[in-house]
């Protein structure tokens, strides 16, 4: 597979990843990712349809927690690292986008 890492794609990925990349960064990343992707794209050579995907190295299932309260933090603990807080809540500047 030939990768097609373009500056536009990298900029778009920056938007998805919420990283404000500078033009310099976009340019540098475009070149580096192009090389990296060319090398890692080889996974598709052996990933034939008959091979099942492994998402967990050790297969387990049905790991549950009993529905019993515990483990709660105090408000002070919740807020102890807050960059900004008011009225026991985290404070952020105006939000542009809408809820999902």
């Amino acid at each position: 597979m030939v990768s097609e890492i373009t500056p536009e794609l990298v900029r778009h990925l920056g938007v998805l990843a919420r990283i404000q990349l500078s033009d310099d960064e976009v340019e540098r990343l475009t070149g580096q990712l192009d090389v990296i992707v060319d090398n890692i794209a080889k996974v598709s050579e052996v990933a034939t349809p008959d091979v099942v995907a492994t998402s967990h190295p050790i297969p387990l299932e049905n790991v549950f927690r009993a529905d019993v309260p515990g483990d709660m933090l105090t408000v002070a603990e919740v807020l102890q690292n807050a960059p900004d807080a008011a009225s026991d809540r985290f404070r952020v500047t105006a939000i542009l986008g809408e809820e999902q």
Partner: protein, 504 residues
């Protein structure tokens, strides 16, 4: 807002066929959250928790924290899936839905994507006229709720114009089941009514299962309504809009009607519908455009590596299936027939949310008519005058006991209402109140005759009239006797005795 052109509803239906779809989010009332042991604000005991007091490390995305699945939430989800007629997946998986938003502590929502716990079902909903419509269900999946944002500054309290926002993570991680319908065809002019009835049906089901408080105004049940129109005769579906978080059943009905009229006006004028989310405005009864679909909606789903597949055993599924309550619609049909109520009488009970109370009162020995009369009458009146639900006032068994005292003649209706007052005030059982207040009907004829003779003697003109055959004149004497007996007499018996004594 409000500047949308609307087409007359009937005219819209002539040209276009509406296709509906719903995503309903149900907050489960488990003790703890979906992935943490923090207490669940959607559980009745935690409604009024202060901000950020129901938060565990994983709910606010603290570094290093890990989710663990709540077993009860899984069972509730399976039960709901079964009640929706779905198949339960032998193995289902959680996935991460990645997007940045300040109410989402981890900046991904743990949800289910290509392997939901329940899929392919249907719900029968009942319209006001008694017609049954079957709504096809595509899937029901487990996920977590987000925290709560409060927008401050600006004039509206809305996101637009706010200076800053405050984030409370209490709601983050509340267990949700999202129920997604397939496209619903053939609703035609009943589309708004069907929308409302569908949400009502989901609400009935989760209440019958006891898995959610199901209070729409509290956000326990939230409906996103998808509406699209296609010209008559066209195969291809039209572009749809998704009206988000409509928070009452009446609003669901109005929002669907509004979207049909709005979209029809645009299409009829040769315009195109934008695929977007829209907001419902309760005050104006209109929708307004929200976020358009864009390539920023690339959620990069992938299997949640911190969680393992949920693979319920067949035994568990069958156990939960066996424990399912009777489907609400079927139960209503059965009770209506059993009780022999008219449509109006039955609606009274249903609308008052008193089905379970009447049923239990009948089970405790009262006649259906008497049970209905107490619950939709006196108890509803007292409830309306206070802050308490009818069911919080008295128990069905106590109501049945009270009715027994009426049936055996111990109490008149009027006396029984006084006893009920005592019951609501917590004075004890009906019999205890009768004894304590001395309220039983005077059934000793001797005492009654003495009172009657006294009244007749005091009103000779009345006695005269009765003897002349003007029987209705007896009313005045009966009234005097009842007054003398402080109401504790059976008026019919008094009347009998008055006529007897007058004849002598």
């Amino acid at each position: 807002m409000g500047k949308d052109k609307l087409m007359d509803f009937d005219a819209a239906l002539e040209q276009f066929e509406p296709v509906l779809g719903f995503e309903v989010h149900v907050e489960l009332n488990t003790e703890t959250k979906m992935f943490s042991a923090a207490a669940n604000p959607a559980h009745a005991s935690n409604h009024d928790a202060a901000p950020n007091t129901l938060v565990a490390a994983v709910d606010m995305g603290l570094p290093g924290a890990l989710p663990v699945v709540n077993e009860t939430a899984v069972k509730y989800s399976i039960s709901l899936g079964l009640a929706l007629g779905c198949s339960i997946a032998p193995s289902s998986r959680f996935a991460r839905k990645n997007y940045f938003y300040p109410d989402l502590g981890k900046n991904y929502q743990i949800s289910q994507y290509d392997e939901p716990i329940a899929f392919e079902g249907s719900v029968d909903i009942e319209l006001a006229g008694g017609d049954i419509v079957t709504v096809p269900i595509e899937r029901a999946h487990m996920e977590e709720d987000a925290g709560k944002l409060t927008h401050m500054g600006g004039s509206t309290g809305r996101i637009q114009g706010a200076e800053y926002s405050l984030v409370d993570y209490n709601r983050a991680g509340v267990p949700l089941v999202e129920i997604v319908t397939k496209p619903i065809f053939g609703t035609e002019h009943r589309a708004p009514e069907i929308a409302k009835a569908y949400v009502a049906a989901i609400r009935d089901i989760v209440i019958a299962l006891g898995i959610s408080e199901a209070r729409m105004e509290r956000g326990n049940l939230r409906c996103d309504a998808n509406v699209s129109l296609r010209p008559r005769g066209q195969e291809k579906l039209g572009t749809r809009t998704e009206t988000k978080n409509v928070n009452s059943m009446r609003s669901v009905e109005r929002a669907v009607r509004y979207e049909i009229q709005r979209q029809a006006a645009i299409l009829a004028a040769g315009g195109t519908i934008t695929q977007e989310t829209r907001h419902w405005h309760e005050d104006t009864g209109t929708t307004s455009p929200g976020r358009p679909k864009s390539d920023a909606d690339d959620y990069r789903y992938f299997p949640e590596p911190d969680l393992l597949p949920v693979a319920p055993s067949l035994e568990l599924i069958e156990e939960l299936r066996a424990a399912l309550p009777e489907p609400p619609a079927a139960r209503r049909r059965r009770l209506k027939t059993d009780w022999g109520f008219t449509d109006l009488e039955f609606q009274d009970v249903v609308n008052g949310g008193l089905l379970a109370e009447v049923e239990a009162t009948v089970a405790a020995g009262a006649s259906p008519a008497a049970a209905r009369k107490w619950w939709t009458g006196e108890l509803t009146r007292v409830s309306n005058a206070s802050d308490r639900e009818p069911a919080e006032l008295v128990t069905p068994v106590a109501v049945a006991d009270l009715q027994k005292l009426v049936d055996d003649g111990t109490l008149t209706d009027k006396l029984a209402r006084q006893v009920l007052e005592g019951m609501i005030a917590g004075e004890g059982s009906p019999q205890q109140i009768v004894d304590a207040r001395g309220l039983a009907v005077v059934s000793d004829d001797g005492a009654l005759i003495a009172a009657i003779d006294e009244a007749l003697a005091a009103q000779p003109d009345v006695l005269e009239k009765i003897r002349d055959g003007k029987v209705q004149a007896a009313g005045a004497v009966i009234g005097a006797v009842m007054k003398a007996m402080k109401g504790q007499a059976d008026a019919a018996r008094v009347r009998e005795l008055v006529l007897e004594r007058a004849a002598q």
